[in-house]
């Protein structure tokens, strides 16, 4: 088996998963042959073409940028079978039926390249059983790859080998899935529903069971099992609606059929209300209603007793709320357990307890280590912490004692005892590794080459993470290093908001980096990169009439951006998640940006009634002058103007490149855990090639008054078209003035500082307007923009 990179992928089956996996490969720049049956009439590729058209409409968008779709080539089994040999990796994603899959395998066998990998994306069938219908020649290169829907956004991919799968096949796949596609790989044993769906669906089953047992209405269950306990906002039933009730029922049936001797076997049944809904075709989001029904503006909820929909009335108990929001994480489970007469507390304790019980019992059979279960549930179901971590956070032994007590008194769903190893260890995750029930040892993380690129992988509670040596640290910022000559700066503020302290710290960091380090990387220990500047102090200063203070603050912001730009050593910004406002402006001033594909970059100041005044508009004007090669500045300026005036946030790093927030030589990295590694490499490269910082430009060509008039024409029409408000107009007009370099002749030349002065002047004008202050106040209070 060769170790050559995967340059081309073939996907068999252009269904929901096949087409979306193809889209994500295309996002990553990998050409795809997307196969399906030849249409009987007309265009033979009609089936695939229809799927491709569907990709453009799907939400959330499978494509990071519209151009990506060009990398997907529609093909069919009748005419293009011989082209399958072009692919280094084949992913079969046809219907979940043994006979259909066998027919496809027989059909393609002779056309799979000798050193290609052959995989199946199944969620319900046994990989070992599939291997029995697989031609011999494909056996050693075969395994399961289980993507989660939507594959672009769900981090998890389960890898399921058979006994015949060669190790080199798994290594190649793991490297490809991790670095090229940016996924989190968990190797699963071949048991029904593998790891994530086995545990995640059990969690849903037990939630439904205890909810019904305690008579808690659906919407209250969702209020209890969502963000309150570190799970996705869609909680339990909304998630079921999104997944599709039929799909959920199918995974339950898979467990029912595949696990006849399981102690929880009696519970692998869909509830009656679910069967009734499925019978009526009310399958959830895809059919307009399921557990919930969006009727006009209202979202009604099913009453399982009557089968009718009614208005929602979610009520979370005060005591439960206090425990979940205020209590120390170590005490939460104990406090819930102790509230014996509180239904909701007992409900939450029960679902945690039975989940822990279940995971402990199944660990040896389904996964290599507890780490695999925890990461699979985090990455596949969006839990902030996996079951073993949560258990451990409450004190491993204390929680174990409570579980055992409930088993003995018959309160648990199944009456099997906890496996012996539970009482032999002090926690599933230890600094030396995570527990493997099958082998009875703690196993460290994989040392495969691909993981050397993840300097800080998603860490589990109980693991130790070493964030290097501190250079300086205060409440807002930390500068540190890992002994390799590259300094790292991380913000410590909530959501990495850019506070005054962050600004001061960044300027100090640039000075220290110049003295003692080869380069400086700005990287956050977790998402987001930043939600932007802290607006509260500025708004307060204006309210108390201290405008000069605000002006000083804006000046400080601008000079911080400039400090990043002119720092004597290379400054590289590594982004993932939201990169808003000042974060985008910083990135525009860095020597290079290493952006995770899922970076959402934008200048959103207009949304709060302001304009980007941290050098963002200055940089746009400067870049426009540079990138138009002496030609008319206006078309590019108009493009940027629209993006800024409409507070556009790019939906991916690729889209940020299309818009121009990221310049075309920024680096897009698919795995968010690899950005620090690449950013350091980039800083080293820039330093090694003989870095010279840029010199402040004094002669930037600007578009001037004529461009302002043209942009104002757009605004006049939008105002008359009732698309924008008077205040939107006022904001956007000032953005136009700054971008154009003020009311000067077209082609006038100005300095960077001149543009910064314009930014600051119009920012100060805007922040004194009552409607802007209303916007800021509203956003600070609700987190949402106000249109006024």
């Amino acid at each position: 088996m060769t170790h050559k990179n995967i340059h081309k992928v073939a996907i068999l089956g252009a269904g929901v998963m096949g087409a979306q996996i193809a889209a994500h490969c295309a996002n990553a720049g990998i050409p795809v042959l997307l196969y399906d049956l030849a249409a009987k009439e007309g265009d033979p590729n009609a089936i695939v073409n229809k799927a491709l058209a569907g990709l453009k409409k799907l939400k959330p968008a499978p494509l990071g940028s519209p151009q990506a779709i060009q990398l997907i080539e529609p093909v069919n089994y009748d005419h293009h079978l011989e082209r399958l040999s072009e692919a280094d990796l084949v992913i079969e994603a046809v219907a979940e039926r043994m006979d259909i899959k066998k027919a496809v395998y027989d059909n393609v066998e002779d056309h799979v390249a000798k050193d290609a990998l052959f995989t199946t994306n199944t969620s319900g069938l046994s990989i070992t059983e599939l291997a029995t219908v697989l031609p011999d020649s494909l056996q050693h290169k075969f395994c399961g790859v289980h993507f989660f829907n939507p594959p672009r956004y769900m981090h998890l991919v389960e890898l399921i080998p058979t006994k015949d799968t060669e190790q080199a096949v798994l290594d190649r796949l793991e490297a490809f899935l991790t670095t090229t596609l940016g996924k989190g790989v968990v190797v699963a044993k071949d048991t029904p529903n593998f790891i994530a769906n086995r545990i995640g669906v059990f969690s849903i089953i037990s939630t439904m069971y205890h909810g019904q047992r305690l008579g808690i209405p659906f919407e209250t269950i969702d209020a209890l099992t969502g963000v309150l306990i570190g799970r996705p906002k869609s909680a339990t039933f909304r998630t079921a609606d999104v997944v599709g009730l039929d799909t959920l029922a199918h995974t339950i049936t898979t467990m029912d059929n595949g696990l006849p001797d399981d102690p929880w076997q009696n519970y692998y049944q869909q509830p009656d209300w679910m069967a009734t809904l499925i019978e009526k075709g009310q399958l959830g989001q895809k059919s307009g209603r399921g557990v919930y029904w969006k009727k006009g503006r209202d979202i009604l909820v099913l009453d399982p007793e009557t089968g009718d929909y009614r208005e929602q009335n979610a009520q979370v108990d005060e005591d439960v709320l206090a425990i979940m929001k205020k209590a120390n994480p170590q005490e939460r489970l104990h406090k819930l357990q102790a509230l014996k007469n509180n239904k909701q507390a007992q409900f939450l304790w029960s679902i945690f307890r039975d989940l822990f019980h279940y995971c402990a019992y199944q660990l040896a059979d389904i996964a290599d280590t507890a780490r695999d279960i925890d990461l699979a549930i985090r990455w596949g179901f969006g839990y902030s912490h996996g079951p073993f971590e949560t258990w451990q956070s409450g004190g491993w032994e204390q929680v174990t004692a409570l579980i055992e007590q409930d088993i003995q008194s018959g309160h648990t769903m199944a009456n099997v005892t906890l496996p012996n190893w539970v009482s032999e260890i002090k926690g599933a995750h230890q600094p030396r590794g995570s527990y493997s029930a099958a082998d009875g040892i703690f196993k460290p993380r994989s040392e495969a080459a691909v993981y050397q690129r993840q300097l800080f992988p998603d860490s589990l509670l109980g693991e130790t993470v070493n964030y290097g040596d501190t250079i300086f640290e205060d409440d807002d910022i930390r500068m540190w290093h890992q002994g390799d000559g590259i300094a790292i700066v991380s913000f410590k503020t909530k959501k990495h908001i850019i506070s005054d302290g962050v600004l001061k710290g960044l300027r100090k960091a640039t000075q220290l980096a110049e003295q003692d380090y080869k380069g400086l990387v700005i990287w956050q220990t977790e998402e987001p990169f930043t939600l932007g500047a802290n607006l509260a102090p500025a708004a307060q200063a204006v309210a108390s009439g201290q405008v000069t203070q605000v002006e000083a603050l804006v000046n400080e912001f601008q000079q911080t951006s400039q400090a990043l730009r002119f720092c004597g050593v290379p400054v590289v910004i590594a982004t993932r998640g939201m990169v808003l406002g000042g974060g985008c402006e910083f990135s525009m001033h860095a020597d290079a940006v290493v952006a995770a594909f899922e970076s959402y970059i934008g200048l959103v100041e207009a949304g709060v009634g302001l304009l980007p005044a941290g050098g963002g508009l200055k940089e746009i004007a400067r870049r426009t002058a540079k990138d138009t090669f002496g030609n008319d500045l206006y078309p590019m300026l108009e493009h940027y103007f629209k993006a800024v005036a409409m507070a556009t946030v790019a939906g991916s790093a690729a889209e940020a490149q299309d818009i121009g927030f990221l310049d075309s030589h920024s680096e897009v990295v698919f795995n968010p855990h690899e950005i620090l590694y690449v950013a350091k490499a980039k800083a080293n490269y820039l330093a090694d090639k003989g870095y010279r910082p840029p010199v402040e430009e004094q002669s930037i060509k600007v578009a001037g008054a004529p461009a302002i008039a043209n942009l104002e024409m757009l605004l006049a029409n939008m105002l008359e078209g009732h698309m924008i408000s008077e205040h939107d107009y006022a904001i956007a007009k000032r953005i136009a003035i700054v971008l154009a370099g003020g009311y000067v002749e077209a082609g006038s030349r100005v300095s960077e500082q001149y543009l910064l002065d314009l930014e600051r002047h119009y920012f100060i004008e805007l922040i004194q307007m009552p409607k802007t202050l209303q916007r800021i106040e509203h956003t600070l209070k609700t987190g949402k923009p106000l249109r006024n």
């Binding site: 008054a705 302002i708 008039a709 043209n710 104002e712 006049a716 029409n717 008359e720 078209g721």
Partner: protein, 395 residues
């Protein structure tokens, strides 16, 4: 004043812009084809007698810049001694060109002239490739100049209380009338064939592109499959809570048209049969922000000038820039809806800006000849706030 006779009135089919059949066909080529046809149909006529070729074009730049009239005249093979000029009064340019040519003949300065228009909205977008607005527009009361045509239509709809339902019904009828006209061959006398040539990359032999040709002889815009219900579902495009949609607005188009105008001496000299006479033309200004209402000033003005009564007019080509302004004009002036756009209008047939006046003149003349009517009016609104109207009499 000498009488002015029209001997020929031809046009190309109208293609959709920016992705229709003429999207890769140059506007000078479209016009040259019309000029060629006129000369070809009159073999005895000496083109040296043509005093001028006057061509309307609303965005005379790029492919239709460089005095497109002169270029097309030379490309059509007319003698170098025949001069040509491009004129611009936006959407009325085509009929304005007829008026200018007619005045030259009426005052005895020319014996013969060609008038017409050409426009490729596929190649030159509305407002041209480089949009520039005078900053002074925003300094006082002139912001109306900056409004897009759609906004002006919304303002007309608001002020003249033209409902969304009425606009959609009007749009639907325009399509129905156009489809009926096409099915009955009612455009056959005015439309001349145009052979379109496409060159596509040939992956097998890059030095020899694949050449495909096809003949364009039918207007591309009319939709047999539309309905009031479909039109009612379209979203407004210019004002979020307005009533003007892509469906009840004119279509962007490509096309050309031309007419041969002569004096009585020329008719006799070459033994030509006239098909119509041109009697008069008027333009008038209105506020730019309600430009669509322009014809309400221009129509009475041309009637007064020529002494013809509104009731005597049996065919009116009222350019359907928008259903909103068309209905406002019909109601305000009291036009008989039965004689307005009997073959459909720009909502269905398209509106290649500067060519429309010439194209619709051909439609009115041939329509009246077919139905046995006498007087025809070609009228339209004009961006920045004007209206134009030209009066024809069919012989």
């Amino acid at each position: 004043m000498k009488p002015v006779y029209i001997v020929e009135a031809v046009r190309t089919a109208v293609g959709k812009a920016p992705r229709g059949m003429f999207s890769k066909t140059r506007p000078d080529d479209l016009l040259a084809r019309c000029l060629n046809e006129i000369i070809g149909r009159n073999p005895d006529f000496d083109p040296q007698d043509i005093g001028d070729v006057v061509i309307g074009c609303a965005m005379p730049e790029a492919e239709q810049g460089m005095n497109v009239a002169r270029i097309a005249t030379l490309l059509a093979g007319l003698p170098e001694s025949v001069p040509a000029m491009t004129i611009n009064r936006f959407c009325s340019s085509g009929v304005q060109a007829v008026a200018i040519a007619a005045q030259q003949i009426a005052t005895g300065q020319m014996k013969a002239a060609i008038a017409g228009g050409t426009e490729s909205m596929s190649m030159v977008p509305m407002m041209g490739h480089k949009v520039t607005m005078n900053p002074k527009v925003f300094e006082d009361d002139h912001v109306g100049i900056a409004y897009g045509m759609g906004i002006t239509a919304e303002k007309v709809a608001e002020q003249w209380e033209v409902s969304r339902e009425d606009q959609d019904k009007f749009a639907y009828q325009s399509h129905q009338k156009a489809i009926k006209a096409i099915e009955n061959g009612w455009f056959d006398d005015e439309i001349i064939d145009y052979e379109i040539t496409h060159q596509y990359p040939n992956p097998d032999n890059p030095t020899e592109p694949i050449v495909k040709t096809h003949v364009a002889d039918t207007d591309e815009g009319p939709r047999a499959d539309t309905s009031e219900a479909v039109l009612n579902k379209l979203r407004t495009v210019f004002r979020t809570d307005g009533s003007v949609t892509a469906g009840n607005s004119s279509q962007m188009s490509d096309g050309a048209g031309a007419l041969l105008l002569v004096d009585e001496d020329t008719l006799k000299k070459y033994n030509m049969t006239p098909i119509a006479m041109f009697h008069g033309f008027s333009v008038a200004g209105v506020p730019p922000e309600i430009m669509g209402i322009g014809p309400i000033r221009a129509i009475p003005k041309v009637l007064k000038q020529t002494g013809v009564k509104l009731d005597d007019i049996e065919w009116i080509e009222l350019n359907e820039a928008f259903a909103a302004q068309s209905l406002a004009v019909i109601r305000e002036v009291g036009l008989n809806p039965d004689v307005v756009n009997p073959n459909g209008g720009a909502i269905a047939l398209g509106h290649p800006l500067g060519a429309t006046g010439a194209i619709r003149s051909a439609t009115a003349i041939h329509g009246l000849r077919r139905t046995g009517g006498k007087y025809g009016l070609v009228t339209m609104c004009i961006g920045t706030g004007m209206g134009a109207a030209g009066l024809f009499e069919v012989l």
